[in-house]
């Protein structure tokens, strides 16, 4: 078994991975950019080394720096988390070549599935249903795209061949928008993945996004760990996920699970992965892509199965057999994840930056918070706007929703705008309560909501005014807030000092 694993990531996922490694007796090594020197993922690790620099391209995407640190600190293996280098086969190969175990699928599997165009061809041949589309080469002239888009029929979807997480993805409604959109998508894809290749796909109207967690070991065993419903998305990024999907009948679940296993076997999958499907209004499903990494939303699977997916990743990477068979995996209850992001729901979910002045996560049975921030954390422009994930479990979907609302109502984040109130409003939305979501639902709903999407439009009541008054009274008479990391506030310059509006009469 490994003695030391380098976690090539940041934020909540780096913290979460360390939490699994440490009780296993494995030393968790963090890496950090200059901006992340005081970040929670550093303080949660056993060892930490600087990457120097700030942009992702200079730090968490620099495989060479990371492998160099792994060598110097004597790590046995590297866990890439999600994003950054997680689905980069060149990095996975470089780890292997340098003598480190890469905790994920083999580079050749990542290549086979990472290029979505190629993956669709292979899997269609293996009998997995796929969405109709067209893909040219890397430098296909834009005009060719226009012809193919007309053939497929508008609206079409432009997607990055190497992509994921909605980056480089665009819906094109009319022919006139096609060329500029392809250019923009190529630019985004090149910046995000180092590969500007894009392809076209038939745009399936109001589809659900349902994905299956898969796991394979090096002894030929492959299982699926059931599905996650991820239809609630904004800007093509998931914001609320749940397991099980309210849309799947036991029969459909069975068929999709089998399709997921067919995908896994067709590409010789090892370690953790996810097979994404679109499910249309008539419950037809289409293979979308394979994500060759741990997903952001893996905790909802963990909660319904009481399995630790990171632990399983480590065991499988160590060459061990999967610790469970398909028959032993029995989901129980219902889990919901909310992605807590620094963003302004009233301004098209624009990312917000700043200092987290107050952070109090909710605690309780069936409430899990995977957090990458703490009081005093700086949220910078350099990285993703997700601060934390709130994962709640209930015996039924209704209980899980009630538990999630309870927890959202008790999650305190002050200092910057967050989507907490927006998430809450989604969980009280009639269509969502009925389980009738699709991937465009958030966008359509925002457009039709008059008074701002944030959900914070509730009138300011007496409780709020009294609390503000009481807090200010305290502030005026007291010593100031606790100094926070990086903030060298002196005693007289604290945020509570200048309470000049108060008069002692």
């Amino acid at each position: 078994m490994f003695n030391k694993i380098l976690i090539a990531n940041r934020g909540e996922i780096a913290v979460r991975i360390a939490r699994t490694l440490q009780p296993m007796g494995i030393c968790a090594v963090a890496v950090y950019s200059d901006a992340d020197r005081a970040a929670v993922h550093v303080g949660s690790s056993d060892e930490a080394y600087p990457l120097e620099g700030n942009s992702a391209a200079d730090t968490y995407l620099r495989g060479d720096k990371i492998i160099d640190i792994a060598k110097r600190c004597g790590a046995d293996a590297i866990h890439p988390g999600y994003g950054f280098l997680a689905e980069n086969p060149t990095f996975a190969q470089a780890c292997k070549d340098a003598g480190f175990v890469f905790i994920g699928p083999k580079p050749e599997v990542m290549r086979r599935t990472g290029n979505k165009v190629e993956a669709k061809r292979t899997l269609s041949a293996a009998g997995v249903p796929v969405v109709p589309g067209w893909s040219g080469g890397s430098n296909e002239p834009a005009a060719r795209f226009a012809n193919e888009a007309k053939r497929i029929g508008f609206p079409v979807l432009i997607k990055a061949a190497a992509g994921g997480g909605g980056k480089g993805m665009r819906v094109v409604e009319r022919e006139a928008e096609l060329i500029p959109s392809i250019e923009a998508a190529r630019r985004e894809a090149a910046a995000a993945f180092g590969d500007g290749q894009v392809f076209l796909e038939k745009y399936v109207a109001r589809p659900r996004h349902v994905e299956f967690q898969i796991f394979g070991d090096e002894h030929g065993n492959v299982v699926h760990l059931f599905e996650r419903e991820c239809s609630l998305q904004r800007r093509h990024q998931k914001i609320i996920e749940e397991a099980p999907s309210p849309a799947l009948t036991p029969e459909l679940r069975q068929r999709m699970g089998e399709a997921a296993l067919r995908v896994a076997r067709a590409v010789g999958y090892t370690n953790a992965g996810t097979v994404e499907f679109l499910v249309d209004a008539s419950s037809e499903f289409y293979f979308l892509e394979v994500n060759t990494r741990l997903q952001v939303e893996h905790p909802i699977t963990e909660m319904t199965l009481q399995q630790d997916l990171v632990r399983t990743q480590v065991l499988v990477a160590d060459g061990q057999r999967l610790p469970f068979s398909q028959e032993e995996l029995r989901p129980r209850g219902h889990a919901i994840e909310c992605r807590i992001c620094a963003e302004d729901a009233d301004r098209n979910f624009m990312p917000a930056t700043g200092t987290i002045e107050r952070y109090v996560p909710p605690m309780g049975p069936n409430v899990r918070v995977d957090s990458g921030v703490a009081e005093g954390s700086q949220v910078s422009v350099y990285y993703d706007s997700m601060l934390a994930k709130l994962i709640c479990w209930g015996q039924t979907r209704e209980e899980a929703i009630a538990q999630t609302i309870w927890a959202l109502d008790r999650l305190v984040i002050l200092g910057l705008k967050t989507n907490i109130a927006y998430l809450r409003s989604l969980l009280t939305d009639a269509a969502v309560l009925r389980g009738e979501m699709h991937t465009q639902y958030v966008a359509q709903r925002s457009a039709s909501t008059i008074a701002g999407a944030s959900g914070d439009s509730a009138r300011v009541g007496d409780d709020v005014l009294m609390a503000a008054a009481v807090a200010m009274k305290d502030g005026a008479g007291r010593s100031g807030v606790a100094p926070r990391s990086g903030e060298k506030a002196t005693r007289d310059s604290g945020p509570w000092r200048a309470a000049s509006a108060w008069r002692n009469t």
Partner: protein, 179 residues
């Protein structure tokens, strides 16, 4: 007695709240007055800016931080930014803000990835002037009206804070008059 004036959102009526101690034995039992309404409240503090109110038996936890004249307040399920109204400041601040159509500013902090125009260029309304990226999201900043570039204050690769002026614009009329 303590008194504070708060405004719940820009343009809203300011609300004055007075707190008066009611119980010699409890330092933080108050009678709170808002207009003609009185409310008996008790306060327990758990830290600076944090604690809970007891309002007729009801428990209302709160957390608050203050930055400048804004107090950000959390109560269960709600977060609000209230303006602390300083009477003197209120009187002094008579002049309005100009609705700036003469510039394009950064709507969020981020990196400039593309600049489509140079000083002197003319453009149609809604033309894409600048492309920037923040937290991996690309955003196109378009012209609010047809016009001409008066000044260019950013370059590709530059990291800009929120609100920074990126380009200054002249309306087309002005352009015509000047040329």
């Amino acid at each position: 007695m303590w008194r504070v004036t708060l405004r719940s959102e820009p343009g809203a009526e300011p609300v004055e709240i007075e707190l008066e101690r009611t119980d010699a034995a409890h330092a933080e039992a108050f009678s709170a007055r808002r207009g003609n309404e009185h409310l008996e409240i008790e306060v327990e503090r758990t830290g600076p800016g944090s604690g809970w109110l007891r309002v007729r038996g009801r428990i209302v936890p709160f957390h608050a931080v203050r930055r400048g004249n804004v107090v950000e307040v959390w109560t269960p399920g709600q977060t609000h930014a209230l303006e602390v109204v300083d009477r003197q400041a209120r009187r002094a601040r008579a002049g309005g803000e100009t609705t700036a159509t003469d510039r394009v500013t950064a709507p969020m902090p981020g990196t400039i990835t593309k600049v489509n125009v140079s000083v002197g260029d003319t453009f149609a309304a809604h033309a894409p002037l600048i492309i920037m990226e923040s937290m991996k999201m690309e955003m196109t900043l378009s012209a609010p009206h047809a016009g001409r570039i008066k000044e260019l204050r950013c370059g590709v690769g530059e990291l800009v804070p929120m609100g920074q002026i990126l380009v200054k614009l002249a309306p087309l009329e002005e352009t015509n008059a000047a040329s």
